[in-house]
Symmetry: C2
Subunit: 572 residues, 2 copies
């Protein structure tokens, strides 16, 4: 179990040199987080300081309570888009209401995660399948990119769905504001170059790999610094129309609980539930990946509590909903984070920026923040994964594609709900069309296999059918029909043997089907036998009328069943 506060346990287990690693990792992450935090606040439609505040208090809370050692908590792109989407309906053009709404969302997200944690319902989130999450993330990334078109081009585009936005951008291409577009294009090119090419170039020049990567990670802050300087110079020379971040109030977040009495808690609750779900799933996914790399474990229910507390803290600190970000956590891990001390370092450094250096970002062009967003989320679009999933499983591929399309056309919330519903429906549909096989003995063994796949021995008096699915309401009728069809074409059969090795559950409808089957077979002069009934299934069958009738016809193995049935009927 470790200490009640996981951080204490982490620090006790840490090696002497680990704190240096944590210091470096925390600094690298902070350098990435300052521009990203402001950018994601912009994406959520909130003032930039909100993103900074969300990068100070929530990571501190998570550092104390979380079981992942490298998860970097703060504002994340997809949740930011979901916040923007929810607040668009809630607040319209009223800026004060946007901020209030963001606090309500953070509080509700936190409460919901805490509730799920208290109920130990961490498993609930497994109802988002990987394909649905992949389709959702890719769709959301595209939505995010189109939402940034107005910042990238300076064209005055209304908020709308992805297609409307692209269409409007093309229609109004003449209104492009060239200085804005130039900043955006330059920033995108520099950020892309800073990834692969810069690292390769530095390595070629003899810089060691680790140092090259660290330089690469400071690129966003370097781009921000250069762009801000350039924009300030342009401003001095009289260029007009470039949207800049403007005045950011200096100082640390001050607790303000006025939002508690604001209206809209019920209206925003469904959005908060989806933000909680998506944020938690993203956080736990990356936390699991990172834990596995160092043979550590995370505790899903404690993660619920830690993220819940982090979001509650965000609401009190005047910030926006937070989660563990995928790319940021990877950066933290790769930079050497060993414990959540790294998270504390990050929070303290971002706090210093908020306290002392916000004035430096006055002339930062919004186009550059948009460029940072676009480059970050473009990596979320996972075409390779989609192709692999489609090849492996058509149903999963369909769920992925439908989620992706629904997110783009119907919106991020409805898209997610449709994806989850569809993946559940497809799973049920698959299990309602169960695989079944007539089986026979692999010669000379005790094993029975599908007669269509293996060379096996059968006895015309015994029809042995293996049911490869749970027997429940959605497939009981199909199973009954399959058995009836095969009995009709096996006129010599005197025994029907159902091999139950793959039946893990029989519900009341399945039981009723077996009872009717047994009665019908008795009338037709065929006796029903079962083999390899699993322990839990047999326990429940024991209380039924069916069991009373066929208890002596339930065999431990198919081999013994077939032996006794064929001996019994031999004329010797």
């Amino acid at each position: 179990m470790g200490h009640r506060l996981p951080l204490i346990a982490q620090l006790r287990e840490a090696c002497p040199g680990d704190w240096v690693q944590d210091l470096i990792a925390g600094t690298v992450t902070a350098i990435l987080l300052v521009p990203q935090g402001m950018a994601y606040a912009l994406l959520a439609g909130l003032p930039p300081e909100t993103g900074l505040y969300a990068s100070i208090v929530p990571p501190l809370v998570y550092a104390l309570l979380g079981t992942s050692r490298a998860l970097a908590v703060g504002p994340v792109a997809v949740a930011a888009l979901m916040v923007a989407n929810a607040l668009g309906h809630y607040a319209g053009g009223d800026e004060a209401r946007w901020l209030t709404g963001a606090l309500i969302l953070a509080a509700e997200t936190g409460l919901l995660l805490l509730l799920l944690g208290a109920l130990r319902m961490g498993a609930l989130v497994s109802f988002i399948s990987h394909p649905v999450l992949s389709g959702f993330t890719s769709g959301a990334a595209l939505l995010i990119i189109t939402s940034q078109l107005r910042h990238l081009t300076g064209i005055d585009l209304a908020r709308g769905d992805a297609f409307d936005t692209v269409h409007a951008a093309v229609a109004h291409i003449g209104e492009i504001h060239w200085p804005t577009a130039a900043f955006a294009a330059t920033a995108i090119v520099l950020l892309l170059l800073a990834r692969g090419p810069l690292v390769r170039a530095l390595s070629a020049l003899g810089v060691d790999q680790q140092r090259a990567l660290t330089v690469s990670r400071t690129a966003p802050l370097a781009v921000v610094a250069m762009a801000t300087a350039a924009a300030a110079a342009l401003h001095a020379s009289g260029v007009q129309g470039l949207s800049i971040v403007g005045a950011i109030p200096a100082g640390l977040p001050r607790p303000d609980l006025a939002f508690l009495s604001a209206p809209g808690w019920i209206e925003l609750a469904p959005s908060a539930a989806l933000i909680a779900l998506v944020g938690y799933v993203e956080s736990v996914s990356v936390a699991k990946v990172l834990a596995a790399r160092r043979r550590q474990k995370i505790d899903a229910n404690r993660e619920l509590v830690a993220l819940g507390a982090g979001n509650l803290a965000a609401s009190v600190a005047g910030a926006m909903p937070v989660a563990g970000g995928f790319s940021r956590s990877m950066v933290n891990f790769d930079a050497g984070a060993r414990t959540q001390l790294a998270g504390i370092v990050t929070a303290v450094l971002v706090g210093l920026v908020a306290l002392l250096f916000t004035g430096w970002f006055h002339y930062l062009p919004q186009a550059v923040l948009a460029a940072i967003i676009v480059v970050a989320v473009a990596r979320l679009i996972d075409l390779d994964g989609a192709r692999r999933i489609w090849r492996y499983d058509r149903a999963d591929g369909l769920a992925l594609a439908a989620t992706f399309v629904a997110v783009l056309t119907l919106g991020i919330e409805i898209g997610l709900v449709i994806g989850i519903g569809l993946s559940l429906a497809l799973y049920l549909w698959c299990t309602s069309q169960p695989h079944m096989a007539v089986v026979g003995r692999v010669p000379g063994t005790e094993h029975f296999r599908n007669i269509k796949r293996h060379t096996v021995e059968t006895d015309p008096r015994v029809l042995a059918i293996r049911i490869d699915e749970n027997l429940y309401f959605a497939n009981a009728g199909q199973v009954e029909d399959y058995i009836a069809r095969h009995l009709a074409s096996a006129p010599q059969a005197r025994y029907l043997l159902l091999v139950m090795a793959a039946v893990n559950y029989i519900d009341a409808s399945g039981l009723e089907m077996l009872e009717h089957l047994e009665e019908d077979l008795t009338h037709a002069g065929v006796t029903l036998h079962l083999s390899e009934v699993k322990g839990p299934v047999q326990d429940r069958l024991k209380q039924t009328h069916l069991y009373a009738r066929i208890a002596d016809r339930i065999h431990l193995t198919t081999d013994r069943a077939v032996r006794s049935l064929t001996q019994e009927t031999e004329p010797t």
Copy 2:
């Protein structure tokens, strides 16, 4: 396949004396159907002749197309209540609109069933589990009984939910109309006596069982005749306030397609979909039961077509939605129906009544029709079944109880939808908490069983775990956790053997879990082996990266796997 028209095939196969049986059965059913048809029209809020019309043309159409030989098609109680419920919202107090709405519902029900039949989607209806259907039917029966309180007592009660109605009836108990209540009470007592006690009394007097049953079945018509005579006498003697059926237009239904251009098709479509679902499930359930008794088969997709055509015919013939009634079909079967010739006889006889004898029902008290409804539907409340289901499976019991309560409190449509949704969710929840077991060899055999249930041999180097569920998104995380927990407490394990005999499906999320597991285990110095992988599962695995890595570690049987792994590591 038989003839394209199943009736022709039935008649060709019939024995010479069968048509006499059919004539008798058709007559008995018609005697039951005339009062029931009018009663169910009353329940649906429609004029009594609608119920007669629904008992003429639709059974004729079903007789031609249906694959069940004994199913008696016509107005049924639960569907009638659903019609009343849908039309209450649609038509309010406008009588003409009630009739138009009923025709639209019948047409939409018919079209939907035909569509499902054309798509061969008969299996879709299996998504209503037996417990949900049982809870739904019991709840609907109670709703029906309370809806008849105003006819039984003469108290002027507004339509409302079951509790409101009972509450209002108790509050206004002083307004009871005693002649009405006397008719109702007498009719209920006579109808109940006519069932068991009358048959037993006649048998005791030496009447043979079959004849006694036939007499018992004419009881509703006898009660109707006596009550009508009594009401006419009371009317002549000046008693006021007894609700009677009144004038029923004589004649056969005349096709009228004016409803085609009426508004409300979209508004009524969801209700029609639920009526189609419930009507089809009820029809197919009883048809299956009756077919099995004579070793015959029904064809679910042809049933969809036959019932769809029957409902379309009902809409054209000015009637209400129809289905195969449970009790009426049992009567038809017990009275000896061999082919659908019996259905034709019934239709012709009801047609004669509509043509010539409707005037005879003028003074029939509505209280008596209500009594017929109450006695008929009271049998639908299945407490024994509910108790049995609860004992066998808590999840199914919960679905049943929730459906029952939801139908009573939230209404018949929402109740059904909640029941279906809940039963699906509960099934997924069960499969998301899979049963898993560490297994060992049953000494001296090739079989491996749960170490907790059997005395088995294990080798500390091999951790063999059987997964008793499909590996899919909702349980992949749980399975991973279970494996991690057991590996952690088996420090000597060098091989993890997953026994896949009960895994019928691995979706993309399950595959991803296995891939991560394999990587993690490799780092930890444990190798992953699989055994008893089913054919269809293996076929799909073959295209994956995982298969490329572990193809030589997939064993046909657990026995061979354990043998090779334990030999391999022995120091010899």
